[in-house]
Symmetry: C2
Subunit: 199 residues, 2 copies
């Protein structure tokens, strides 16, 4: 980094680029780094600087890992015939923390978004279909986000998977747990009604 | 850092130790670092790791600086006979951003806290009094925080400064701007009434 003579100000400028960190938090963090023990700042700094070198994509599912295969793909206790397809590693992480899924993941690192430059030609369909054939996957759960691009991706994948004879489902969209209906947006309310289940 | 084989998890553990960063934000930041361009992660990491080497305390006021004297102490346009005494560099930074003070600061890096191991013997009174004599300071504004330790420090300093014949004042404590009285704590309300000014 160019030495501006203002290391604290430089750090604040870098920190505000982090998600969820505003000007105030950035200043608080920067001052904290100087009052906290120096080992911590150095360890955190090195962890950040070398993260990209130490993390790669799992050769099987595309999730982040430090090894050739991620911990889930290497775990023989995970069901090998069910895949949960997600857009990003953070999504797989969120589902994993909910402890509701015992199969493996497939991380697309992309969503179908023709206006954003990801049309069917750019979309990584082939690696997924090859994996399904290679690993004898029988069931796929589509857990792309409930956004325009996520829904488009889900529809596109559902069609390809149907042709391949794979049982396919889409995660439910509706009112979140603990959510106050008054503050839920109309599209979500519409989906909650549409997806109602008889009791 | 010891290589646990889980660089992302390690980073999350380091990030949650930052002020204002919980488990969720830490995960969000960690995943962001991998999807953002790698130069950014490296630059931020190096800025953090080397911060302690590049920042020292101003020889005059004790604030953080990259040089022998901080920018404010080196600025001849700042009033040289008025000092604002604060506990921490972040406090001087906050007052500076409010653009309400044209003098210089004195950063204690401590508060009087006998139970916490900072009694009069440990408290850095001498450097302040020496600076006041050396620089011919005529007025001191005590801007230590409105906490038990901050008030104790303020009283202690006020006595020492009175003996030295220096005009001394304490910043006002009261209901913050935009604050709803309903949600203001009783001590603050008491101070707001006590410190009322005739109109």
């Amino acid at each position: 980094m160019h030495d501006s003579g203002d290391p604290l100000g430089d750090l604040v400028k870098l920190l505000v680029r982090l998600p969820g960190v505003g000007e105030k938090s950035a200043r608080r963090i920067a001052f904290h780094m100087l009052s906290a023990d120096r080992d911590y700042a150095q360890t955190l700094g090195e962890a950040l600087a070398t993260l990209g070198e130490r993390v790669r994509r799992c050769a099987s599912c595309g999730n982040y890992t430090a090894r050739e295969l991620c911990a889930l793909c290497a775990d023989p206790r995970r069901a090998g015939d069910v895949l949960c397809v997600v857009a990003r590693p953070a999504d797989a992480d969120a589902i994993e923390r909910a402890r509701v899924f015992g199969g493996r993941y497939h991380v697309l690192h992309a969503l179908l978004d023709p206006l954003g430059g990801v049309g069917p030609a750019e979309f990584p369909l082939v690696p997924l279909m090859e994996r399904i054939a290679r690993e004898g996957i029988r069931e796929v759960i589509l857990a792309t986000p409930p956004t325009v691009e996520g829904e488009a991706t889900s529809l596109y994948l559902a069609e390809a998977l149907r042709s391949a004879g794979v049982s396919t489902s889409r995660i439910a969209s509706g009112v979140p747990h603990g959510g106050d209906l008054e503050f839920v947006d109309p599209i979500t309310l519409g989906r909650a009604l549409e997806g109602r289940r008889s009791l």
